[in-house]
């Protein structure tokens, strides 16, 4: 994983930012995403969440991870994706990502379901296509081909750096892609 550069990379052409390697893939509202497996600390079941008042919608609150208080982010809300009711497939991916103040911190990420740990070679990964103006693709490090589907590889470090929501729905609905 390249370190998060301060200026947005230009993912539209050239090499993808994503490095070949193992990725944990998971689903959000029916679409597949991948994050580097090295950033994943553990995967836990949904647990009681303590909401924190007056926070953006994607910040669900905090949870107790064996004595550590960690924030819980709902990527579906972050990406403005439809949120379906919780099922027992829902779980929390505990990831270690760069904190704003330096160092790393643990974050919990709610996902609809975890798929697998997949190994993507350099050939599997393609640069992010140009989605046009409406989609903010700076945190997308590449697209990985896997079997029949395509997984969006994302950089959680950059996601946490953006306070508001991120328009990503274009990804979920291929017909919206700019040609």
């Amino acid at each position: 994983m390249p370190p998060s550069a301060p200026q947005p990379p230009s993912p539209h052409h050239g090499q993808p930012d994503a490095q070949p390697g193992k990725y944990l893939t998971f689903t959000l509202s029916g679409e597949s995403y991948g994050i580097p497996v090295l950033k994943v600390r553990e995967i836990i079941r949904l647990c009681p969440i303590t909401p924190v008042a007056n926070m953006p919608e994607h910040v669900k609150g905090v949870i107790n991870l064996r004595g550590k208080v960690i924030p819980l982010v709902d990527l579906r809300a972050k990406f403005c994706l439809p949120i379906s009711p919780d099922t027992d497939r829902n779980c929390i991916v505990v990831t270690q990502i760069a904190a704003a103040g330096g160092g790393t911190r643990l974050y919990g990420v709610i996902v609809d379901g975890v798929e697998e740990v997949a190994n993507f070679t350099a050939d599997d990964i393609e640069p992010t296509p140009d989605f046009g103006g409406t989609v903010d693709s700076m945190f997308i490090t590449g697209m990985a081909k896997s079997g029949s589907g395509v997984k969006t590889l994302i950089d959680l470090d950059k996601i946490s750096a953006v306070d508001g929501t991120i328009a990503i729905q274009a990804l979920g609905i291929p017909s919206h892609q700019a040609s």
Binding site: N54, N64, V69, P71
Partner: protein, 768 residues
């Protein structure tokens, strides 16, 4: 003629006064310490001219001779010289007085006038504690042989030592000595390796500082000499040769032996024994090396520990049982019994003293050398991060334990064995937690002791007489808090010394003793540590404070404040009552910063003052920054923690107590004061909260002078919680000060009362 004489006497008297001052502050091991006194004694001789009667002139000449000898050696004053001057000063004073009244001069002590009476010049700057130099014995008429220097007998345990501090000192010293040895080994290969030179220099420098604090002046001198050599090498003024490496190692060995012996004696082995260290020889070697001379082949190496057998012909004398007490060579520091508190009284090594008799010293090297095992409690230095994570883990264990105990399935089992085991588990975990917490606890002593120095300096600077009394120095609190307390305490002590305590004349005029007292005390009270700074100075004047606050625009002229509110004004930003601005305090910053600092660590500060009688500042700080006592409240389906320190009271409002103020929200009358209500549920967007205040509970919280009523649904209980940081994702929110894991394993949020109370000034202005 007679006026001439009086003029001479008064001039001499003035110079003498300055000498007295200089003597009081002269530092035995300070470089150039001799200069000031040298100059003053010269002035004294000048003032007296040739008019002084014989004995006075003789005495002045003697003093000049002593000083000259010292200055010739290394420009420092030895402890012995200082002690002699200390004796000489009152004598001259008395002699001048007699002269003034035309009385015969007191007899001049015999040993002064004889040239032999000077402290032997070859003893090296031995610098014993000033009081330890027995006045009548310093004038040892037998000069030590110049060629072979005696080993110096050093008392190991300082008489008034604090065992705990010594233990810390030992632990640190051992680390430093290890650094030193490693550095020396590098230097042996590459004498100009600057990182090693730097680290060696720093190690000796730190060592010097530490022994200085411990008042081990002899070692301080030694460390100082080695440090200056390394400093010269570091600056490229001096090139280390193998002889200098040997000297450094020999010096490190001496320090090591001392530390090992000290560690033993702290552990109760051979308490009170003195050790003989070849310090004078080593210091001479250092000087010789710095002067460019290579020390005589044996000189540099022989003082190493093995030289013990042949060294110090004079040494047996003081220790031999038959020897009269007056015989010790002048640089022998008397051994002081370590156990009984003998203060500064000097005892010459007595036959029954545990010090080994001379022959034994000479033949059998004492069992002290470096590797002597430290028996009893030692000190292990641990990374604080490890400590923190241990404390975190223990906190989790306690919670996990209570979750297990409260499991419904387990509760259903009726087994005496199980409940006994669970009880045992509970008591072990709580013991474990207490022990873990105590790891971070340190006594507040060192912080308090720093203040004595501060008070002394302040008193001198301002011409006041101030006594600082310390109480409860052994009170333990979290290391972080001790550190955080330092600045506020310095500020408040300055305030007390600067604004509180009056000048002696004013105090006497007010019928108080001329010396003011500042009392610094610490004690436990209700789960908090209370620190009080009490002075018996002029106290706060409500009228003056009020006038000043109105002038500064902090309050309006028609504001009606009670006494406590008036006193609280001194915490307002930009407030200062000092009539003159000094460099100490009174710049208008300060008390507001003090309060901010205290509140930052979730503490609070109160003032109590009686005009003309004194002021007491009381600080309440939590025992530790990691744990607070919280009031657990239920709001809707959420639970929040309110730090109990902020809670003034709570009650269920009766119908009619709550009044709607048009456009400003609700207020409730609490003890006659209308206090605005904050509906916590509404403020925090928590669903399912009570809408009628009568169904809820009102918790009155305060921050600074402001208070506010929080409307909650229920009080759940009081609980000690470990504070956890919420992290940077929540850095912009202002409602919560942190989070805590509650008994059932869920996260509870800790309300930031300061922010909630201050909210008032924004949302409903002057409703209070």
């Amino acid at each position: 003629m007679s006026t001439d004489r009086f003029e001479t006497i008064s001039r001499a008297g003035k110079v003498l006064q300055q000498i007295g001052l200089e003597l009081a502050f002269v530092d035995a091991v300070k470089e150039n310490g001799a200069d000031g006194i040298n100059e003053l004694v010269r002035q004294l001789a000048e003032a007296l001219g040739d008019r002084a009667p014989g004995p006075i002139a003789d005495a002045v000449a003697a003093a000049r001779r002593w000083i000259d000898q010292r200055v010739a050696v290394d420009n420092t004053l030895s402890g012995v010289t200082i002690a002699r001057l200390g004796e000489w000063h009152p004598w001259i004073d008395a002699a001048l007085t007699s002269w003034e009244h035309d009385l015969p001069c007191p007899p001049i002590p015999e040993d002064w006038s004889s040239p032999q009476g000077a402290p032997p010049a070859d003893t090296g700057p031995e610098a014993p504690p000033i009081a330890a130099a027995a006045p009548t014995k310093v004038g040892d008429p037998q000069p030590a042989p110049a060629s072979q220097l005696p080993e110096q007998t050093v008392e190991v345990l300082p008489a008034d030592a604090d065992a705990e501090m010594l233990q810390i000192f030992c632990a640190e010293a051992q680390d430093l000595l290890q650094d030193i040895e490693q550095g020396v080994l590098v230097l042996e290969v590459n004498p100009t390796d600057s990182p090693s030179l730097d680290s060696l220099f720093r190690a000796f420098h730190t060592f010097k500082g530490n022994v200085g604090v411990m008042k081990l002046l002899v070692l301080q001198q030694l460390a100082h000499e080695l440090e200056s050599m390394l400093d010269a090498a570091r600056r490229g003024k001096y090139r280390l040769v193998s002889a200098s490496i040997t000297v450094i190692l020999a010096g490190a060995d001496i320090l090591k032996r001392f530390v090992a012996e000290l560690a033993n004696q702290i552990a109760g082995v051979n308490t009170g024994r003195t050790v003989d260290l070849p310090i004078p020889q080593l210091i001479r070697d250092v000087h010789a090396l710095l002067d460019g001379a290579v020390p005589s082949p044996g000189a540099a190496t022989s003082p190493a520990p093995k030289a013990k057998t042949d060294a110090a012909p004079p040494a047996p004398a003081p220790i031999a049982p038959a020897a009269p007490p007056a015989v010790p060579s002048s640089d022998t520091v008397a051994a002081i019994e370590a156990g009984p508190r003998q203060g500064a009284t000097v005892t010459v090594v007595e036959p029954q003293a545990p010090a080994s008799p001379a022959p034994v010293v000479a033949k059998a090297p004492p069992a002290s050398p470096a590797a002597a095992p430290v028996i009893g409690s030692g000190i292990v230095r641990v990374d604080t991060l490890k400590l923190d994570s241990l404390i975190d883990l223990v906190g989790e264990l306690v919670i996990a334990q209570s979750m297990v105990v409260q499991t419904p399935e387990l509760k259903a089992i009726t087994s005496a064995h199980l409940s006994r085991s669970l009880g045992q588990l509970r008591s072990i975990t709580s013991d474990l937690q207490r022990t873990a917490m105590s790891l971070r606890m340190v006594p507040i002593r060192s912080t308090f002791q720093k203040m004595s120095r501060l008070v002394r300096d302040l008193a001198l600077q301002q011409g006041k007489e101030i006594v600082l009394e310390l109480e409860g120095e052994e009170t333990e609190l979290d290391r972080n808090i001790v550190e955080e307390l330092n600045d506020p305490l310095v500020h408040m002590i300055r305030n007390s010394a600067d604004h509180g305590i009056e000048v002696p004349a004013a105090r006497v005029a007010a019928g108080k003793p001329s010396a003011g007292t500042i009392t610094l005390r610490a004690f436990h009270q209700g789960g908090f540590i209370v620190i009080q700074i009490e002075d018996n100075g002029r106290g706060l004047s409500p009228a003056k404070i009020r006038a000043k606050a109105i002038e500064r625009g902090i309050i309006r002229a028609d504001d009606n404040l009670d006494e406590r509110e008036t006193f609280d004004l001194i915490f307002a930003a930009g407030f200062s009552t000092a009539e003159k601005v000094t460099d100490l305090s009174g710049r208008g910053v300060g008390m507001d910063v003090v309060r901010r600092n205290i509140e930052k660590m979730r503490g609070k500060i109160e003032i109590d003052s009686v005009e003309g009688r004194g002021t007491t500042f009381t600080l309440y700080v939590p025992l530790t920054l990691a744990i607070i006592e919280g009031l657990l409240v239920g709001v809707g389906d959420q639970r929040y923690v309110i730090p109990t320190l902020s809670v003034r009271e709570s009650f269920r409002p009766l119908p009619g107590m709550v009044t709607q103020v048009q456009g400003r929200g609700e207020v409730v009358s609490v003890r006659g004061r209308l206090t605005p209500i904050l509906r916590l549920g509404r403020h925090l967007n928590t669903p399912h909260t009570a809408t009628d205040p009568v169904e809820g509970i009102i918790v009155v919280v305060e921050a600074g002078q402001d208070s506010r009523c929080l409307l909650v649904d229920q009080l759940i209980g009081k609980q000690e919680v470990v504070i956890k940081n919420l992290g940077d994702m929540f850095r912009h929110q202002t409602e919560f000060a942190g989070a805590a894991i509650l008994g059932d394993g869920r996260v509870g949020l800790i309300l930031d009362i300061n922010a909630l109370v201050k909210l008032k000034s924004r949302s409903n202005g002057e409703a209070a």
